[in-house]
């Protein structure tokens, strides 16, 4: 049994190594994906292009504008553009916010009357629009405090744990690593057996004394090895290039990744028992990957999803692994904190492996 498994593993690895395209897919793709996605999926809102209308033209209004643009948040990209054409600037993406200071700004301010300042925000990206309005309010409050010396009854002092600068890249890269190994292992393993069925070698294997468990183990371990390699490349790149802090334990992450790979390889294997051609297998694996990624909390938090969809996410092994990767890398989570996720992944893995085994034995006889 051991000899057979080793022979299968060696054969499988040889086949991968011979295939130049496959090698490129496995080793170059993760770096490209990390680079592109790492920079592209940036939910930080900074350097908001702003049009400024200063109808007051006083020293106070200028000071107010200075306060607004002091941080890295707002930059003045056009000053007093034609009023009637204000909306055009939004349409042409010249700015995404417009600050309007009325001509009675300093007068009212000094007389301690209510002062109205207008802020127009491009709401087509709802997420960054709400962040923009949050910044603007914060800055206005600080300005009040400084100018008027009003003592505030409640002062909230916030401190962000784990990711103090709220860098979205620290959050995204662990997610991308999880997504990458999901796709690679599910796709490779789903095609592995179907390919042999297509070229006829599966039939040849079935007349040998090889057993189904040996076949399954020998065919999946090489892909687990590739999954680990893939993850290591992506992690190293994330840490060295993006400077992602890795707070937790590497060995715990690798150990739990092994359990996770058990689930994705199981899915791949199951797909290969229900499909007849590599194309079909590819589509099924693609569908699974998309489902897994979208319901994993990779892009948007699961808590924001409708309740029915939240229940569906429990069927997704990547959902659990996403918590594990982010937990270990960003918060240094220990194994005690991750038991529910670990148990869920084990249950999923055992179920999917058993059902593909059963389906497989049935098909062969």
């Amino acid at each position: 049994m051991i000899q057979t498994i080793l022979a299968l593993m060696k054969k499988e690895l040889y086949q991968v190594i011979r295939d130049r395209n496959m090698l490129r897919l496995i080793f170059v793709m993760p770096i490209i994906q990390l680079l592109v996605l790492g920079y592209a999926i940036n939910t930080d809102v900074k350097k908001i292009d702003t049009a400024v209308y200063d109808f007051d033209r006083s020293s106070l209004s200028r000071e107010y504008i200075k306060a607004k643009t002091a941080g890295d948040y707002f930059i003045v990209s056009s000053e007093n553009p034609p009023v009637l054409d204000a909306e055009r600037g939004f349409k042409e993406n010249l700015y995404t916010a417009a600050l309007i200071i009325p001509n009675d700004f300093s007068e009212n301010f000094i007389e301690k009357k209510p002062v109205n300042v207008g802020l127009l925000i491009d709401g087509s990206n709802a997420n960054s629009a709400s962040i923009t309005s949050g910044y603007a309010e914060m800055i206005a409050m600080q300005f009040n405090r400084r100018q008027l010396d009003i003592p505030e009854p409640i002062v909230m002092r916030q401190q962000m744990l784990y990711n103090p600068e709220s860098e979205s890249i620290y959050f995204m890269v662990p997610g991308i690593v999880a997504v990458l190994i999901t796709m690679i292992t599910a796709m490779l393993s789903s095609m592995a057996i179907v390919r042999e069925r297509e070229i006829g070698t599966l039939e040849q294997l079935m007349v040998t004394p090889i057993t189904v468990p040996a076949l399954i183990i020998g065919k999946t371990i090489p892909f687990a090895i590739l999954g680990f390699l893939e993850m290591s490349i992506a992690l190293l790149f994330g840490v060295l290039w993006f400077g992602i802090p890795f707070v937790g334990s590497w060995s715990l992450l690798y150990g739990l990744t092994f359990i996770f790979l058990f689930t994705t390889l199981g899915v791949g294997l199951f797909i290969s028992t229900v499909t007849k051609t590599q194309q079909q297998a590819m589509f099924y694996a693609w569908f699974f990957s998309i489902f897994a990624i979208l319901t994993s909390g990779f892009f948007s938090p699961i808590a924001n999803m409708p309740e029915a969809v939240q229940y569906i996410t429990y069927l997704n092994p990547l959902r659990y692994y996403m918590i594990i990767v982010r937990g270990i890398m960003m918060k240094g989570a220990s194994i005690d904190a991750l038991y529910p996720e670990i148990i869920a992944m084990i249950i999923f893995g055992v179920l999917i492996f058993t059902s593909s085994w059963l389906r497989y034995s049935k098909r062969v006889s």
Binding site: Q3, A7, Q15, E203, P209, V364
Partner: protein
């Protein structure tokens, strides 16, 4: 001499369609048995049942003395199988193909190495060992497929149209190799479309619509039906049977 293959009323149905209809025959040890029939006559289905790839609907059978229902594992250890599509890994070299199948049969390292040497000597494969199997010319691929199916020295070798698409010179040489195997005591169970090849067999059976319609020594059959050769005999038998079934 014990029988290598015995079949009794072996039947396989796929839904309403009966692919193999109560066939019975025995093949002796060391015999070269030709399993003939038109396309779709049920030859491949029958072979697949004997090799344990398909479960029969009814009937009995033994291969190498092992029951085809219960002793599948033992059958697999004692047979070799070479199918119509050469089941090689095109992206592995000839040597790696041999090495892989030998390892699956759990041959010891040393034994496997010796056998590969020996077989590539006999089949003239030496110079091709380091080439990718997918790049070999058809005739050589076929020899390689033969080598992989006999590495573990099976007692019975099933060959399902082993010479399809290969030129006559190669075919003749290939049969020379098969005869060498038979001389060493391997039982050969061969399907073919080439009637000149069928004449090399000790005995043949002719299948039509899932049934065996004739069985015997090729020259005896030619005499019995008074035909000039097997080809004529085959064509005559099949068309006669087709007319009969059309009449019914």
């Amino acid at each position: 001499m014990p029988d290598a293959v015995t079949i009794e009323k072996l039947t396989k149905k796929f839904g309403d369609f009966t692919a193999v209809d109560q066939i019975s025959l025995t093949v002796g040890e060391g015999e070269v048995f030709g399993f003939l029939g038109a396309n779709g006559a049920g030859k491949t289905t029958a072979i697949r049942m004997l090799c344990g790839l398909l479960l029969p609907t009814s009937g009995n059978g033994t291969v190498g003395g092992f029951d085809i229902y219960r002793d599948n594992e033992n059958i697999k250890k004692s047979i070799g199988y070479m199918s119509q599509k050469f089941s090689l890994y095109g992206d592995l070299t000839a040597y790696e193909n041999l090495w892989f199948y030998g390892s699956v049969y759990q041959l010891k390292k040393k034994v496997l190495k010796d056998r590969i040497d020996e077989l590539s000597e006999e089949l003239g494969l030496h110079e091709f060992l380091n080439r990718l199997a997918g790049n070999l010319p058809l005739g050589w691929r076929q020899r390689l497929a033969l080598a992989t199916s006999v590495l573990h020295r099976p007692k019975i070798l099933f060959l399902d149209e082993p010479t399809g698409g290969v030129d006559p010179v190669f075919r003749r040489r290939f049969w020379g190799m098969l005869y060498d195997l038979a001389d060493k005591g391997t039982t050969l169970f061969v399907t073919t479309h080439y009637m000149d090849e069928a004449e090399y067999c000790h005995r043949i059976s002719i299948m039509h619509h899932g049934r065996i319609i004739e069985l015997g020594n090729p020259s005896d059959l030619i005499q019995k039906y008074q035909q000039p050769n097997l080809e004529e005999l085959f064509v005559q038998l099949i068309s006669k049977k087709s007319e009969e079934s059309a009449d019914v």
